[in-house]
Amino acid sequence: MVVRHVAAVLTGLVIAAALGLLAGVFGNDDEFWLRTGVFAACAVGPAYGVGWLVFLSGTADTEEVARPEETVEQQWWHRSASASFLDVLVVAGVGTTALATTGLEVAATTALGALLVVAMADVAVRLAVLRRREA
């Protein structure tokens, strides 16, 4: 399990560094290192999420179990993720309708970022509620 955690962290660092470098290269100003550093720092969290998805999401918490797919933790995760997907569809639909009817202009990065935050918070809250209610 320790090896998996280390691999997830390393994956996150590599992806964050790559994203930082890309942002630095494609930047139009002369602040290459500043832009690279800021983007890399901001990307570390989500990039670690990718590492977690690859190396840790198939396991149940800190225990190394032979069949993680049959654990109650895995069921909680699936239930909260699928319920959250429906919530995200509703939020995206309502948001799109609101923007279309009001004619308000919002940057795509802002809208997608907000949707991402809503989705992550939704899953986290649902998971916490399930853990508390059914543990």
């Binding site: 149940a60 179990v65 032979a66 069949r67 654990t71 109650v72």
Partner: protein, 65 residues
């Protein structure tokens, strides 16, 4: 779904952790199973029955509706 997993485990003198290890699942899964808050998958139910040398319906009983 109700079950007598806790009694069968206690009869063998096993901890919840030991039973979880035997079944290849987490301890939390055993806790939820014993409380009747988690219905196991069919393969897991078969493993539970095989572990205690009985049939699935000897361990698990459907709730009366």
């Amino acid at each position: 779904m109700r079950n007598d997993l806790a009694e069968r485990r206690a009869a063998r003198g096993w901890s919840q952790g030991r039973l979880a290890e035997e079944l290849g699942v987490s301890r939390q899964t055993v806790i939820s199973l014993e409380k009747g808050r988690f219905d196991p998958s069919l393969p897991l139910a078969f493993r539970v029955a095989a572990l205690f040398g009985c049939r699935i319906e000897d361990v698990f009983t459907p709730d009366e509706s």
